[in-house]
């Protein structure tokens, strides 16, 4: 999988927080990635957004910095980095908007073959009051997604 990525990630000591700079026509935008432990400690929630100058994170702004695929590929690298150190954890993620969830689904669909060599990939959907998880199926609408590194 030959993809363009940002070449460096800045990480916190605990390896749960990462930043990198998106660089494009809109300038330099600091991106924030966080793996947050859920109440079920085998699951980490991946959140992503723009780190603002006041220290807050904006999960909603559409930057249009013309580097969407490069950003997604860099977030994927952060998932590899996290799962290499936490191979028993399931990483759950969903978009902050329906559009972003569709974008993640599209990326998983396009790179499914390559990603599935390294990860078990799941789709999460809601049916009545149940939250169901199943192996990811292309073309299906999901609420969110989960990945777990394959240990050979």
């Amino acid at each position: 999988m030959k993809l363009e990525r940002y070449e460096s990630l800045v990480a916190s000591d605990d390896g749960l927080k990462f930043t990198f700079n998106s660089i494009g026509p809109k300038g330099r935008i600091c991106k924030w990635i966080q793996f947050q432990k859920m109440n079920d400690s085998t699951i980490y929630y991946l959140s992503f957004g723009n780190l603002l100058s006041d220290g807050n994170v904006d999960h909603y702004t559409k930057d249009d910095n013309k580097d969407r695929n490069k950003i997604l590929a860099t977030v994927a690298v952060a998932i590899y980095e996290f799962t290499a150190r936490n191979p028993d954890k399931l990483v759950f993620f969903t978009g902050s908007t329906d559009g972003r969830t569709r974008l993640y689904r599209m990326a998983l669909t396009i790179y499914f073959q390559a990603l599935s060599l390294d990860f078990d990939i799941y789709g999460v959907y809601i049916m009545e009051d149940d939250h169901l998880i199943e192996p990811f199926e292309k073309g299906k609408d999901y609420y969110g997604f989960a990945v777990k590194i394959k240990i050979n």
């Binding site: 990480a11 927080k17 859920m38 590899y80 999460v124 009051d129």
Partner: protein, 50 residues
Amino acid sequence: MKEKTKLKDASAFGVRVVKDKSLNKFSNVDWSPEKTKEANKVVANLKWKV
């Protein structure tokens, strides 16, 4: 004895990971409490489809 497989990390993609203690100050910050609450609710009730 079977050798333990090294899992791919950022270096496998030529991406450098630089530790920066300034990020540690964010250790306990929940940037999106509503979304986290929602995620917790979802993952707490996950059922494997059989």
